[in-house]
Amino acid sequence: MYTSSGFISFALRRLTGVALVVYLFMHLWVIGSVNAGPEAFDARLAFVQQPLFKLLEVALLAAVVYHAVDGIRIMVVHYTGITEYRKSMFYAVLAVSTLLVIAGGVPIIRFMLEG
Amino acid sequence: MPETEIIVHDILIVGAGLAGSWAAMVAAKQGVQDVAVLSKIHPLRSHSGAAQGGIAGALNNVRPVAGGGPDGPLEQIPAGDAPIDSVDLHVFDTIKGSDWLGDQDAIEIMCREAIDVLYEYEHMGCVFSRTPDGRIAQRRFGGHSTPRANYAADWTGHVLLHTIHEQALRHKVKFYNEWYCMDLIIEDNVCRGVVAMDVLQGKIYTMRAKAVLFGTGGYGRAYKITSNAFANTGDGVAIAYNAGIPLMDMEFVQFHPTGLYKHGILMSEACRGEGGYLLNNKHERFMERYAKGKMELAPRDLVSRSEQQEIDEGRGVEADGQGIWLDLRHLGREKIMERLPQVRELAIDFVGVDPIDGLVPIQPTAHYSMGGIAADADGQVIADLAGTPVVGFYAAGEAACISVHGANRLGTNSLLDASVFGRRAGYAMARFVQNGAALQPVSGDPAQRSRARVQALLDNPGTELVEDVAQDLKTTMTNNCGIFRDEARLQQAMREIKVLQARFKNARTMDKSSRFNTDLLATLEADHMLTFSEVIVAGALARQESRGAHSRTDFPQRDDDRWLVHTMAHKNGADGPQLSFKPVTIDYDKYPPQERKY
């Protein structure tokens, strides 16, 4: 096993990617209930709006944000050829992701607590 | 007797450095279908790749700026301007460098073909440094009267080795990587193949071939401080000697003036070619006392002797006084980074000094083996003073003594020697095979002897460690058969070698396994070093004169009346080497012996 910041970023990107693929199909399934009418839709929606799912939503947000921001970093490397700042760029991705997750996660948690 | 698996090739080359790879590539390119190379390490690990400074050749691309002095700036020669260099001048410099011991016909071939070889390298993809108008860049080198060291920064050997290996692959040469040659099969003065071990499996094979070439490199590992790789244990030289082939001029071992202090790792001569100084503990450029005309750019034997004299007279540096300063600071950061980047990293890594702003401690280091397997300019190995060819056996590169370097090699002539004569041997072997050479029969099972040898080493319950024997050999060779030699010390070395040979019989191989047994290889290598070291000392004892790298304090003068001859050493049973002497090829009209002054 060869650990490095490059490997951690790669592993996280893959893990979040796979998780998001799984989520995507669940998401389609939930929204798809509209085909069965408003009642079925509201029932499934209510089911996924329980507090536990709100917590999972924060995790989802984190996955989306990291995957996206790290993806942007990789594309910056592709199109600029900058490699010498590879470590600091990864740390910057972590910092930006964390900020975005906090900004997006706090309202979710607050909504959950306030009901 | 067990049935042995036998491997057959048309041409079999042992050693995959520049000489071996050139020979293989050329033979394959000439249409020989079945060319194989075996090497105890991967070909790209060969020590040719460690050469740094350049490869000689009178291309006439560069000249000193008028009025700049001996270490002034260089410029490209403008189109149409008269050349400053010539093959003849290169020949003369090489002869003078060799202290007139080099065979002048071979030297002439080398210097002439240098030009073709260089352009061929370039056409094959070698990435040379360039002049502003796009020609191959050249720099000064010790003992050369013009800037004719063609270079690729300070990794010249590396790019040459990779280039030629790639081209050998392109021409479908078969490589046996990590196969160790153990024996040479010669019957009735005809070479029939080799015995070799597949190191990975530990299996020993008879390998038959119509022609065999040894390009197995030099023997600098017999010394304690050496620039040589671990692999440079002179296996081929010892194997050939054991098979009855004569070794020539073995006493000539070159000490390079700038090995990193204590490590021996090479700081390229390009350091001085680019204008570096050598300083003693008083910060004097002491070369002024020894070679006023050439200063630091005198030939290596002279500079190493001068350094050793400074050290011996108490003007050395570092705690034990065994070092000398190499001063590159005045070259400036830009020049060092552009021309000597590898050298800089070595200094930082191994002695913790950045040459941009620090003095690098160096000392003479055993570097190059002028002697080796006696061969002619086609790489054809000879069996005796009359020049009787050993049919089907060739040698090239540092393992061979075609005698272009005589008593002292000039820097950048080694890459050239390996390339030119490897290439010529390739053509010669291709002709030999294509003119209908037959695969000669082998009597008995030659591999059996090597198997027994290996088994005996593995079964030896001895109390000695192989490494201790090898270290003691290196110590005695360094102390008693080094830069300065005399009768008493050489006798001492001879006695000690005999003792060490006896001790070796009681040495145990610690690793008893068959797969990838590098401990066994080290044992075999130690055996080989003990074999050829005796020949070095015997030659040094016999040669009662000082010539080139062989410097006898009890015979400080060169003696052309008695010693303008090559030393030939044949194995004489257990009695050690039997010496005979072969005249040097000299064109007395063109290059008569002169006093050698710089």
Binding site: V21, L28, V34, D42, Q49, A68, M75, P107 | -
Partner: protein, 108 residues
């Protein structure tokens, strides 16, 4: 077009669409129900945006999954099978998703 380029182009598209999607649909994270969604989805422009979004998200997800699987040597024989499966799954999901998007109809 190479999978590599599909990934890059869809990634750039997703950065845009996903931002819109997150802000509009999930924030502020009030309780969502059918009625609220219906109001927005009444606009055909939103339907179009969501269909395009769905397309890119499926391309990115399935191409990504294919890359993750085929980076493993033992699956490399199945490269084509995986690609076929991804295309079939993609088409079915796109059909199903589009149908879903179109199913959001304002109450008559």
């Amino acid at each position: 077009m190479r999978v590599f380029q599909m990934q890059r182009i869809s990634a750039i598209a997703l950065v845009v669409f996903l931002t819109i999607h997150m802000i509009v649909v999930h924030y502020p994270p009030f309780h969502i129900d059918f009625d609220q969604i219906i109001i927005r989805m009444a606009d055909p422009l939103w339907k179009a945006i969501d269909i395009v979004f769905l397309f890119f998200v499926l391309v990115h997800a399935l191409a990504g999954a294919w890359v993750v699987l085929t980076d493993v040597q033992r699956f490399s024989r199945l490269k084509r099978a995986f690609a076929g499966a991804a295309i079939v799954i993609g088409l079915i999901a796109f059909y199903y998703g589009t149908k879903t998007i179109l199913a959001f109809q304002p109450p008559v």
